[in-house]
Symmetry: C2
Subunit: 715 residues, 2 copies
């Protein structure tokens, strides 16, 4: 938390270029520049996070969504509900693969306890409360602790109210804190989802890519108890009636038209110091990529030889592949754009500007220098930390044992509030779910190979970077091979009751255990605990120094009549932009819309195995009501200059009147580097046109009533 620092600046010339994930309250200042360009909602109305249209936007935690009917109907991405579809699938009825359309409201399927939707009710500045006990001289580790405790106290207090989920978010480098209170809907149901091969047409091949032809949407509905309170799934529940919902603009998006997107982008590092980017791109990421590739290839090898391994490792392999592509995209983007040098140059300019005025220099320079020292300290042990984290991540049972040891440790604290985030009572349900789910993914043979691989790399680290407690544990067991034998010889933790039982053991019981996984976890924990304290101190220092850097950026921007936007922090943001192509390379232009014909032309073996009737209908686009004369085809996906990142998936794309014209579902390959630096010329968000949503639903039997509820006029 709060490690994002800052430097990218919006230049006046690009005021309407698409850059910026704006806080709602910034819109009155930012939006007027777009008023001549298609934005027709008054800026102050647009800036109300609880009004219309922003009040229709919700978060599912990992994805954004929006209400689109007065009866709680919601739109989000197919890839956001993939897990829910899998849970509702069985051997004979594979909703994930074949898609789903509820015959009526009664047939809508519960997504289970994992699906929650947060409808924000209030946003309160709690800076004074969070920083109440913190003084200028508070030691860094204590500063972190005090802030963390204050945040937890505020959250606990807030959540005392029924059905509420709360969080404290930090802004402006840690200068500001807000308590966000949301009404949490916990009965969410699937109304309709296209077949996997439509929703994620092109799969991994097309992921991050343009041209794109995905129908990446799903239709959900939120339910509440009859008395309007939130409730877990029950047949007696009734549809939730949101305060606000969006209207669909069935004319969709067209080239050069104004669009905006409202959603919950996760994390960006636009304002990181240049050194953080340089180190990440030049030192850390290449090492991480190499290791990830090795693990990926190893798992793939297992999966290719054994169907059981394939079933268990599929998700992990996809996730690693996605991470690799993301890492490559980032490195590619930074290299091609010369972005590291750019960022260094701009930071040098800003520092020179600070130094040019004695008052500024006196106020900020020492903090900025200290921040750099802090960044470099954090980098020092990164390789060791990388392997340490892989030893846990790679070996599933070690991750279980470590979490259990930490759980027991935190239980020793008197009150829940003192416990570290992630180990409070409110977290137990999630941890238990994780331990149980392992039944479906644990694969000991490959797990052992991964641990052997990671330990092999770790073994080559120089002496001063080793983990003495781990070395002692391995030496005790007679070396790496014998350690692996001991760990993987019929491990007790291979069954979920044994894993869940661990959470009930106190620290003393665990310390007396002779389970090798528990002993290894204790060894790692003995090393990690002081590391966590060091890290806490660094986080505290970051909280102390971060506001200075952000203040410098704000002052520098103000002097140039520019508006600074904060890095994304999983809170509601609005981006403004246009539907527009780009040049992926000299000699090529990515046109901003794809077509049903293009979709049909790509049909073939997986991941392009769209149902034959969809392909046939797409070939015959001219006879569809969604046919667009200007395009000469049914529109599918479109490109926008909208500034987005992970977490924005499922976000509603709105036209100038605030009506829904599409759903954002991805960024282009060039936008991967945008987590650090936005490039107006090439950063694009990829959206599905609401007409392709309509077209796809229309081809699915029995979806007529859903299209009606979505406001599609009778023909």
């Amino acid at each position: 938390m709060l490690t994002t620092l800052m430097i990218s600046l919006l230049t006046t010339s690009s005021a309407t270029a698409g850059e910026g994930m704006w806080l709602p309250e910034q819109l009155p200042e930012v939006a007027p520049a777009w008023e001549g360009k298609g934005l027709r909602i008054p800026a102050d109305k647009l800036g109300d996070p609880l009004g219309q249209p922003l009040g229709s936007i919700v978060t599912m935690g990992f994805c954004s969504a929006s209400f689109v009917s007065e009866d709680g109907l919601m739109l989000t991405n197919h890839h956001c509900v993939e897990g829910f579809l899998q849970q509702n699938s069985s051997g004979e009825k594979n909703l994930h693969k074949d898609g789903f359309v509820a015959g009526s409201r009664a047939d809508e399927l519960s997504v289970g306890p994992g699906g929650k939707v947060a409808v924000v009710e209030s946003i309160t500045d709690v800076t004074a409360k969070v920083l109440a006990k913190v003084g200028r001289r508070t030691k860094d580790a204590k500063r972190e602790r005090l802030i963390d405790e204050a945040e937890k106290r505020l959250v606990a207090e807030c959540e005392r109210e029924r059905d509420r989920r709360c969080r404290v978010a930090s802004y402006r480098g840690g200068a500001e804190f807000r308590l966000i209170k949301a009404f949490e809907l916990s009965d969410v149901r699937i109304v309709a989802a296209p077949p996997m091969a439509m929703g994620q047409y092109g799969g991994e091949i097309d992921n991050w890519m343009w041209p794109r032809h995905g129908a990446d949407f799903a239709v959900l509905r939120a339910y509440v108890a009859k008395d309007g309170t939130a409730a877990d799934y029950s047949v007696d529940n009734v549809p939730y009636r949101p305060k606000h919902h969006l209207t669909v603009d069935w004319t969709g998006a067209e080239p050069d038209s104004f669009v905006m997107v409202a959603g919950y982008p996760g994390r960006t590092s636009r304002h990181a110091r240049a050194e953080s980017l340089r180190w990440y791109a030049e030192d850390y990421l290449p090492t991480r990529q190499a290791l990830t590739r090795e693990v990926h290839d190893l798992l793939l090898d297992h999966a290719s030889r054994d169907p059981d391994a394939e079933a268990r490792l599929g998700a992990a392999i996809s996730s690693l592949a996605n991470g690799l592509k993301n890492g490559e995209g980032l490195l590619d983007g930074l290299r091609k754009g010369g972005l590291i040098a750019d960022k260094q140059r701009r930071e040098a300019e800003i520092l020179a500007w600070v130094d040019a005025d004695p008052a500024r220099k006196k106020r900020w320079r020492a903090d900025l220098d200290a921040q750099l020292v802090l960044i470099e300290e954090g980098q020092r042990d990164a390789t060791r930390e990388l392997y340490a984290s892989w030893i846990g991540r790679g070996a599933d049972l070690l991750a279980v044992a470590r979490r259990s040891v930490r759980w027991a440790e935190e239980r020793e604290k008197k009150t829940d509030l003192e416990r570290d985030s992630g180990y409070q009572d409110r977290d137990r349900e999630r941890i238990e779910a994780g331990f149980s789910k392992l039944d479906r993914s644990l694969h000991l043979t490959s797990d052992r190979d991964v641990l052997a691989l990671v330990l092999g790399h770790y073994g080559k680290l120089p002496d001063e970077q080793r983990i003495p407690e781990l070395d002692a544990f391995i030496a005790d067991l007679g070396g790496v091979d014998k350690t692996l034998d001991a760990l993987y010889d019929k491990p007790a933790l291979a069954t979920s009751p044994a894993r869940l039982a661990l959470l009930d053991q106190d620290l003393a019981t665990l310390k007396a255990s002779d389970d090798p996984w528990v002993r290894m976890a204790l060894a790692m924990e003995a090393w990690s605990k002081p590391r966590r304290e060091e890290k806490r101190a660094r986080t505290g220092a970051g909280l102390r120094l971060g506001p200075s850097w952000y203040a410098v950026l704000e002052a520098y921007a103000a002097e140039q009549d520019q508006i600074l936007y904060d890095d994304a922090n999983s809170t509601l943001r609005v981006s403004l932009g246009v539907v527009k192509g780009y040049s992926p390379e000299d000699g090529l232009w990515a046109v901003p819309q794809t077509t049903a014909s293009g979709f049909a032309a790509k049909a073939g073996p997986p991941p392009f195995d769209a149902p034959a009737h969809m392909v046939a209908a797409a070939r015959d686009g001219r006879s569809s009501r969604f046919f667009d004369e200007a395009l000469g085809d049914v529109p599918v996906d479109f490109l926008t200059t909208l500034d987005t990142t992970g977490g924005n998936s499922g976000s509603a794309v709105l036209d100038g009147e605030g009506r829904l014209v599409g759903l954002l579902f991805d960024g282009n390959y060039e936008s991967i580097a945008a987590d650090w630096v936005y490039q107006a010329a090439v950063n694009r968000s990829i959206c599905v046109d609401v007409r392709w949503v309509g077209f796809t639903l229309q081809q699915m039997d029995g979806a007529g009533w859903i299209l009606d509820e979505l406001g599609l006029p009778a023909k």
Copy 2:
């Protein structure tokens, strides 16, 4: 020869779409459609093959070229003179890699005896002479023989005149024959060539691809003896003064502007029967691709393990890779475009049109049916023939031995005229050169592996498809392994004197030889000889039936006010079109020009290792005299709708005034299938803008005098 039949038809709507490799005499009919679109030369002037501009266009056999100064200066492609540059390179001076600029005329380098330039002097209809002895009832094999002999007689007679090279070309499916007499220049010198990494920037990776950034040009000059006669290289020779030469238009080509290309396209099969295309694409090519890939991978494996193998096999591997890419492109293009079914549908339409009129039906239908039977006969043994040809092609020494056996056989004939084409006295020089060059490419270890591979596949053919003579040869030696041992145990033919000596041995001597290669060649020849006779009969039948099909196509086109163009046959053709992009796939547009910045952005490891000073100059395009304000950069390559194929490489691209604005050097990936079917929407030719030629020359030391001679105005 004469196996190309026909069916693609130009539709009136695409009269100015770019389709058509026109014979010069067709231009008065075709060109007027372009007169409002930028063509400003009178059509009858343009149609004169010996006038201006067509008289400036020459052929180097494998490539086209054009005169660009009154002193015999010529422009062609870098990839057309690659071999010449290699011949002129040594360890310390690598012209192929580093490029070359002559300091003055005296420093221009001879390309050696392999480089000839043909300047056409006359084109005469010799149909009556070629067909003089052929009657309607002449048996097919005899028909082929009579035509072949008549052609050879005409050529020999024509070449009796000093310095002339002659050929008989057939047109309209074999209905027409023309004798083309050319003045053959045999002292050709290299004036300038860019470094390989400029000329073929992107190498195999970019081959057939767009975007493209090649400076694929070379500057040559032709020399003659002082008395104006052609002469081999001598310091006493003087520059040849061509009757015509082109002027360079240094403003280059711009988007949507009219362009035309004049050159010597090799072979197309646009008018082949639909069944020929279906069989080629569905049956033959996939088998050939699979075998080629195996051989390619095998050679690559050798090359990767052994630097000597790498040096020897490099060219063969490139050639196989190029063939594979070409084959893939063809299959891709045919599949995507649904071209086979299209061609079948159009052929069915034409046949129905024939049948609809009793007179037409009576005149043509029997011939068209017989032609189909003939095509199917030719297909029958194709797999066996494929392996038989690979047994020769794969094993270099077998190819030498087979050619020597054939040579000796043909020597038995009394007169040179009776000998088969390729085995006449005029061919000996070329055969000897081939035998000698083997010193640099022969690699016995991989050669043996390839032969083993091919024999392995051959061994799986059903009994009726086997070659009994080859089976007997192998059985005699005790099976495949022992045969391979015998062949590759210190083969005498591994040295070039031994190979050259074979050409002096008569058939009796060869038959007495105990060299296993010679014995294997004799076995293969015993099988091949009757096959050749069968093939001759089929060729004769093709010559008998082909004119009917072409006549049908002509009549069908005429009825629809369309003009039919003949398939390419390595004679002078002119294509008319525009500079224009295309959509390689839905969501992408290939813009028709690339830029110096794009060139610089691709610079990196081979094959993108352009010299640093070129890259730096390209980054600073704005300061260049070749900077184009509209483009905002220095233009590099451009796309046109011009209809071209292999052999067109080096062709001058002309503007509406007939001035040179670029050089054609490749087709796009989508154009690979255009050897069978032209698709107006996606077939594009790739050309280098003359401004990029100028830019590149300007960055090479001492090329100022060449730019002067190319007419670049002083600044």
